[in-house]
Amino acid sequence: MTALRVITQLFLALPLLAIVVNNLIPRETMRHATIGMCAGVAGVQMLAAFAGFAMLAASGKSSFNFALAWDIAKGLNYFHVDLVTLFLLACVGMVTLASTLNALTTIDDHRSSFTNLLMVMMLGMNGMLIVQDLFSLYVFMEVAGLASFVMIGMYKSTRDLEGAFKYMTLSALATIFILTGLSLLFIKAGSLSFSMLDPALFSGTPGDPKTLLCWVALVLLASGYAIKSGVAPFHSWLPDAYESADTAVSIMLSGIVTKIAGVYSLIVLVRLFPGNAALKTALLVLGLFTIVVGALLALQQRNFKRVAAYSSVSQMGYLLLGLAADTRLGLIAALLYLLTHSLAKSAIFTNAAALEQRLGTLDLDEMGGLQAKMPVTAFSSVCAFLSIAGVPPLAGFWSKLLILIALWSAGLKGIAAAALLLSILSGAYFLRVQKKAFFGKLKERWNDVREITGGIKVAEILLTIGTIGVGLGFPLVLIYLAQAGLI
């Protein structure tokens, strides 16, 4: 456990250290070095979290409690990690690494605060994953949110500021919902610590106002977290924010921020209040509605990034369905879906960065036949979209399959069938994007276009290897789940 104690300290110490070093050296002239250092921090976090996951699993314990280094001597334990949070901490590291590789090309020399904000965003997400209290969860959610608003608007163009403003306005609404919900929950529970919250809060004498307030709190909290997730009908901020932000920032927002700030918070609710039928129904309805709305809107978009953004909205619906199954398998399926979607969506936004760098536009009507000129980008894009559409043997297929199995085994057979049929819509917008961007006859104006190089190409290759590799290795996960009696 000594090694785990060191590993857990890294999740807070490394980003903080990176911020200190960033501000000690002249960032304008050492942009690549500072972004490279952040990439190192992200890479170390990913490896450390996976190592911690293996250690905790091997120890047979369900969680590990810890505190900031200077508080350990006092015997305080206000942070904790478990297998779920260690897995998500690894996902945070992975997506941040992909973002930094893109940032080497997309972030200009005048954006000296980018690395500071990226590390603050990472600290916010790490903090959300290690706290044991709903109010602390909110505090770190605001940290990640604040960094996100600034990063979306950091180029200060009208479009950037509009995207940041929309995100901030809807986040303010989410904040009102969450804080009101926490206050109402506190009235009955007397604490917001995870250990003090349980399903018994919702059972009381009929007409008891405090129990009624707990139900209101649940509705408010679920709505607030849904806004942060960007699920329909709370999705209006998301496409504008993703489109206007720098691609390195879009990767963070789509790949991990919405998933930790929104979906992880919903996971916390599901884990705190298992068997809550109202929450389960709300997640099912929101999940199905989100899949349909996101996919239909993705079909109508002309901009590559906006298709990817609406695709994110749609795919978030599958995550909610996994949680709605309200079983251990459903939670595992949702987490694995989160990983595979993060991989594929990071790859798609990296493809967007490559196209924007080489073409100067992301308008699908202006593209065509780019497969011949940008084969790596085209292959990476095809793999990522196929994975999201759920085509075997790519990573997305297996995780989507697990969600369907989880729904089926939870008795939600109609929902599983509907989710399966709706995945056809994902295939539809995938085919449209690939046809317009990469297939067909090359337009004359793109004759001189060359394949992307540098960090973006490295990120494309690594994320594609990840998508294929996780897909090929997934049967091992299924064997493990079968041995554990979960499927």
Partner: protein, 160 residues
């Protein structure tokens, strides 16, 4: 004590209304400071002395200074010549919902009770340095994010 609570709540409501509906940003910021001041008094009356001091000093004092400085820097205190459409209905709806909740609470005899660190005998030091240590750490990072935001929006150049 009840009279003081109702006076504070009424003052918060009135100044909140003024803050939302004021056409002048400076007046809106000052009204907001008055809301915080009334909230601070309410907290003191209810026994949360330390929280009251923080509310008055930070929300009513420091934040108002920052608001007014920002408005002055951006010349936002000058009246716009073009008439603006304002959503007067929203604050009225919100106030009506708040009023309905208050009436429901009075009619059902609902009481909050006393819970957790604020209501218990836990010392401020204990709450600040031990019970809520994670939140304090989070607040420190939030301040760091705020400092970075100021650099991005006031120092770094606009064009990509």
């Amino acid at each position: 004590m009840n009279v003081a609570i109702y006076i504070c709540l009424g003052a918060m409501l009135a100044f909140g209304f003024l803050s939302v509906l004021s056409r002048n940003l400076i007046n809106a910021a000052i009204s907001l400071a008055a809301v915080s001041a009334a909230c601070g008094v309410l907290m003191y009356v209810l026994g949360a002395h330390t929280a009251a001091i923080f509310e008055v000093s930070v929300c009513s004092g420091l934040v108002t200074v920052i608001f007014i400085s920002a408005v002055s820097l951006s010349n936002g205190d000058k009246q716009s010549s073009a008439p603006e459409k304002r959503a007067h209905l929203l604050p009225i709806i919100l106030i009506a919902i708040g009023g309905a909740l208050m009436i429901a609470a009075v009619l059902t005899g609902f009481t909050l009770g006393s819970h957790g660190p604020v209501g218990s005998a836990a010392s401020f030091d204990n709450v600040f340095w031990e019970t809520r240590q994670a939140d304090i750490f989070g607040q420190m990072i939030a301040i760091l994010a705020g400092a970075s935001a100021i650099v991005v929006f006031f120092k770094e150049s606009e064009k990509k």
